[in-house]
Symmetry: C2
Subunit: 159 residues, 2 copies
Amino acid sequence: MRQNALLRSGKGLGTPGTARKKAPVAVVAPAAEERDDHFALRHGVPCAGVHLIVDLHGAQGLDDIDLIEATLRRCVTAARATLLHIHLHHFHPNGVSGVAVLAESHISIHTWPDAGYAALDVFMCGKADPDACIPILRAAFRAKRVAVKELLRGRTADD
Amino acid sequence: MRQNALLRSGKGLGTPGTARKKAPVAVVAPAAEERDDHFALRHGVPCAGVHLIVDLHGAQGLDDIDLIEATLRRCVTAARATLLHIHLHHFHPNGVSGVAVLAESHISIHTWPDAGYAALDVFMCGKADPDACIPILRAAFRAKRVAVKELLRGRTADD
């Protein structure tokens, strides 16, 4: 059973006011999480992981940080991945950047609400299913167009 | 001057023991950071950002979490980007996953030390310079081979 070593380590979010000299402290978890298998098999090709480059066009809700967080969590569940850490940042005047760090790699999102555009990466190794995220993203953000490019990371033949 | 709203919000890293039911809480910063310009120009092509897919082969130090953190920070500085949050996770028996969330998007890293392989993403918009990260990564991890693929995210013509 995976334990979330991250929270137990609890290594500082830092002290307000110290941020400008040295950027936010890294939260470093002790070595406890088992990675869910190292290599994936995609269409019969062994690789370190499957990396989906996802672009949403004509999308809505791209400044709704609660929607974005909930959607990332639903993606993780649907992909049968394990969420280790999630961080979202709301920009001024609008726009959100966020990353969900997974035992199987990560999902990232960067939104440009005025342009109705969001750039996501869904990178998963092991037995997690990155494709399961696509319909969730399409529906959550009511995207008019979803472009998906697939990269097999860590193939020995070529990159 | 950018203020690090993230630390001031300090929204919980959660309580040890609660992690298993609900995954680690999202750290959500109030809307304060100005994004460093929305669109980039790459070879004369406007896009939301430049996304470098970087694969290191025959690399070393891939289980050294301090080296990895320091290297990510050096990359951010060299790229003239702004670090908002950094998170690293050490797996058992080895391997590190990490993400640096930037005002200009993110840098991610996932390492497979036994294979001497690391998968990185350097995604930056605005005026930050993602290319500056490449020589730093090559040197820090003494990679025998560095493969870089460039994606222009958010082009309206195609993705």
